[in-house]
């Protein structure tokens, strides 16, 4: 029997989890759907710009030609500003990279969890705890920058790893679902940070509000170009992308992570310690989140800890990891895209008067499209293989 005689084997229907996180998809598919999702989001975004322009809407009845012209100009202006603000100048490009930095790091944290079958919603909390540890190193010791910065980063990684590791231990020991524990630990982290910022260890003397002492100059991330905000954090993010790729595809640990992500039972039968793996996956994820966190205090003015300094980066990271199909390179590109939207959105708000919230709408639309690939396929008439029934039988998070 030659190879040609091999029968067509039915591919196992991907679970909802696989479809959304993109774990196990091929490169072509990994690029096609996200690209179309972005395109569709921009088109829908154009409609939103059109229907929210009240003044123009009023004249559609009396002068449709003029209304159409104005609408198109409005959309054109907005998207032009979006483009100019993200790529149109050195400043725009550096702002894009600057905004992308924490997103890439946090996105990697979520993606590594997805690859190993874990949903780490607690990246925000891990960023806060990691950031606080890095900040503490940043203002409490005086050493040269080449020691200070790495030390602060290591402290942040350790703290983030421990914070996420708690959820890992709870899962390994008691089976508590990581979605619940990481999410709840977010709240603990938010209020713990608020509390810490008012203790004498952290609080700026003479202040009553939660604000920390400033980090020493030696701990502040140096900028890459004079006069722009872009700093070495971006290079660290690039290194992290490469290291995560190496970890996942070139090491025994990554092999175990992926095996347990695809089939925990199979991994256990092959002699892997599944509970230990859950702890280590979350620890690695938390360490990456820690770098993202320290980036938010040592990478931008005022180099201090403020209440909830992680913002929504950790939650946007979930969307970002989905868009990047949980692949390190995918996360890098998705992070750059989100960074560009953020930077361009600021310009759009200033120059075209479109609220920056439109950017959030665009991000959300992209994710909806990613989560419903069938929708994108239907819109663009991409054919699935032959006439396979497209009914989804298996759904859910796979226990």
């Amino acid at each position: 029997m030659s190879v040609d005689d091999l029968p067509p084997q039915p591919q196992p229907e991907p679970t909802l989890y696989d479809r959304i996180t993109g774990v196990g998809t091929s490169v072509r598919r990994a690029l096609l759907i996200p690209a179309l999702a972005v395109l569709s989001a921009l088109i829908i975004g154009a409609f939103i710009i059109a229907v929210t322009d009240i003044d123009t809407l009023k004249i559609w009845g009396s002068d449709p030609g003029e209304a159409f012209r104005r609408t198109m100009t409005g959309i054109g202006r907005a998207y032009k500003a979006l483009f100019v603000g993200s790529l149109g100048s050195t400043k725009a490009i550096t702002e894009t990279l600057f905004s992308a930095t924490p997103s890439i790091l946090a996105g990697l944290a979520v993606a590594i969890g997805f690859q190993a079958g874990l949903f780490n919603i607690g990246v925000n909390g891990q960023m806060l705890i990691g950031g606080m540890a890095g900040l503490w190193v940043g203002f409490s010791i005086s050493v040269p920058a080449f020691i200070h910065i790495p030390l602060a980063i290591v402290a942040a990684m350790v703290a983030g790893a421990i914070w996420a590791g708690i959820a890992g231990l709870l899962k390994a020991r008691t089976g508590a679902h990581e979605v619940i524990t990481t999410m709840m630990l977010n709240f603990v982290a938010i209020f713990l940070v608020d509390y810490l910022l008012k203790t004498s260890i952290f609080q700026q003397p003479g202040r009553n509000d939660p604000i920390s002492k400033p980090a020493e100059v030696t701990a502040q991330f140096p900028t890459l170009l004079e006069g722009y905000r872009l700093h070495i954090g971006f290079l660290i993010a690039l290194v992290a992308v490469a290291l995560v790729w190496w970890l996942m595809y070139r090491t025994t640990i990554g092999f175990e992570f992926r095996a347990v992500g695809f089939n925990p039972t199979g991994a256990r039968y092959a002699g892997m310690s599944v509970s230990w793996l859950y702890v280590s996956v979350l620890a690695v994820s938390g360490a990456l989140a820690g770098i993202a966190g320290v980036n938010q205090v040592l990478g931008l003015e005022p180099y201090r800890g403020l209440s909830n300094f992680a913002g929504s980066v950790g939650f946007d990271a979930i969307a970002l990891a989905l868009l990047g199909r949980s692949q390190p390179l995918g996360v890098l590109f998705a992070g750059l895209l989100f960074g560009a939207l953020r930077a361009g959105g600021r310009e759009m708000q200033g120059a075209a008067g479109i609220p920056i919230d439109l950017v959030l709408v665009l991000q959300a639309l992209i994710i909806v499209m990613i989560a419903a690939p069938a929708l994108v396929r239907a819109i663009y008439r991409i054919r699935t293989s032959d006439q396979e029934p497209t009914t989804v039988i298996s759904t859910g998070w796979g226990g």
Partner: protein
């Protein structure tokens, strides 16, 4: 012309001709067995009949009239019913609720007519002597009864032709017997039945005609009276097949596996293994027979370190391994072919290579420190694919694209391709086709002849009898009988049901 006819069905997938001018017919009151190896095109053909695929060319005729199905709904309306290998039941619903699902009888204002639903189930159940309680919750029912629910579902929609896809592969021997009675009942009532299987004995027993497919073609149509199992196997595989396992008498050596007074709890904390003692020596095959669910799974899991034991000891080559981890036991030259190939033996979204190194990735030469050496991994995979005759276009394809037999070969290759002292194999050939079974059996005997101690667990009595030098029978967690090669199937069968027999070990 009455009955169901498929004529000249051709189905082409990109790169593969799955069905090539296939003809199949069944008339009312007739049982047709459709035999073929995995991948011969049986499933594709049935999916065409059920409206899931449309054929590239060919016709589906009912009572001589051509029909075009665009989905299962059309097929059902035309009187075709299908009972899938994997049941499509809602576990938390009652039998009656499952039966009406998709065609719910309603009273005014869309209220469900529960009484009518129950009546339907009771009527059909009585008519075909299925003995199913309409109010039972499906998930509490044994697999054999769940299958009857599927059959009732089909009958409730007034199917004239029933397609049963590998119906006996999930049943225990006792369930198979009553299942065969049910199929005969369907026939007596004038239903046309297409019975898909790769079990030759069953096909011979119940079919009026046997149609054999190979590589997408119908290669033969025979009457059961004209053929025997050997001939059927030859037609299926395309070459003479040896159904006998050939082996010399065992020459047992030293004790390799020694299990003493072992007690193991199952996931519901019942004593699944209840004080079991036995030994396996180098160079012998010990088979554990028993109806599934009598503690065999837990016994194997405990020996291989996957499930902790409550009491007793497991020794390998004289050392106590009772509390060791799966990996520690694996490193003591123990190979384990697990019961459920896809669930626990493989990582389906991984490539063949990745699956071949699944339990050796952490050792040199596949890894150096924490870094993997994928070159070495591919070298090993390439060698094993060749040596163990794994039919795959390349070791880099996903293992999920391989047929069941080739998937099993991947596992066997991975497990035995090193210095093995003890081989534990659970259901080593479940769901495999004749050719693969022959191959796997030969490999197991070969391991024995090289001095490996082999423990086989199988719910197929025939398999245990063919392979084993010594047979242990498990019933309700205990070993209730020990037999040598000369024992008859009846003796062992009685012991499997807990009747006295043999000499208790």
């Amino acid at each position: 012309m009455t009955g169901l006819q498929l004529t000249g069905i051709t189905k082409r997938f990109p790169g593969v001709l799955a069905n090539d001018e296939v003809d199949l017919s069944v008339s009312a009151g007739e049982i047709v067995a459709l035999l073929g190896e995995n991948g011969a095109g049986k499933t594709t053909l049935m999916n065409i009949l059920y409206g899931l695929y449309s054929p590239t060319s060919g016709q589906v005729l009912i009572d001589g009239e051509e029909r075009h199905f665009t989905g299962p709904g059309d097929a059902i309306a035309a009187g075709i019913g299908m009972v899938h290998q994997h049941f499509m039941l809602v576990p938390v619903f009652t039998v009656a609720e499952n039966v009406i699902l998709g065609a719910e009888p309603t009273k005014s204002l869309g209220r469900l007519d529960h009484r009518k639903a129950r009546q339907t189930v009771t009527d059909i159940s009585a008519r075909y002597r299925l003995d199913v309680d309409p109010d039972a919750i499906v998930e509490n029912l044994p697999v054999g009864i769940q299958q009857r629910v599927e059959i009732i579902k089909v009958l409730a929609r007034e199917a004239r032709f029933l397609v049963l896809d590998e119906p006996t592969s999930v049943l225990t021997p006792a369930e198979v017997e009553s299942f065969i009675e049910i199929v005969k009942g369907l026939k007596a009532d004038g239903k046309g039945v297409v019975f898909i299987s790769h079990k030759l004995g069953e096909a011979l027993e119940i079919a009026d005609r046997i149609v054999i497919m190979r590589r997408g073609k119908t290669v033969a149509e025979v009457k059961p009276s004209e053929v025997d199992e050997e001939r059927l196997a030859e037609l299926m595989v395309g070459r003479p097949v040896d159904l006998e396992v050939h082996k010399e008498p065992a020459q047992p050596g030293d004790v390799v596996l020694s299990v003493e007074d072992l007690v193991v709890l199952d996931h519901r904390n019942r004593r699944a293994v209840d004080g079991v003692t036995f030994q396996v020596r180098a160079g012998e095959i010990v088979g554990v027979a028993g109806v599934q669910g009598n503690g065999q799974t837990e016994l194997v899991e405990s020996i291989t370190g996957l499930r902790p034991s409550l009491d007793g000891t497991v020794g390998i080559l004289g050392a106590d391994v009772t509390t060791l981890s799966p990996r520690q036991i694996h490193s003591r030259n123990v190979a384990h072919v697990p019961e459920n190939r896809q669930e626990s033996g493989l990582v389906l979204p991984f490539t063949v290579t990745e699956n071949i190194i699944l339990n050796s990735y952490y050792e040199p030469p596949i890894s150096k420190g924490i870094q993997m050496d994928w070159g070495e991994a591919q070298k090993r995979a390439g060698r094993l694919v060749k040596e163990y005759d794994v039919r795959t276009p390349s070791p880099d394809v996903l293992v999920s694209t391989l047929s069941g037999g080739n998937q099993q070969k991947v596992i066997v290759a991975r497990e035995v391709d090193r210095d093995v002292k003890l081989l534990v194999a659970s259901q080593p050939t479940r769901g495999l086709d004749v050719g693969s079974i022959e191959y796997i059996h030969a490999r197991i005997v070969e391991e024995r002849d090289q001095g490996v101690a082999v423990l086989i667990v199988s719910s197929e009595l025939e398999e245990v009898m063919a392979l084993s030098d010594r047979i242990l029978v498990m019933f309700e967690g205990k070993i209730v009988g020990e037999f040598d090669e000369s024992a008859t199937a009846t003796e062992i069968g009685l012991a499997m049901l807990g009747e006295a027999g043999g000499d208790p070990a």
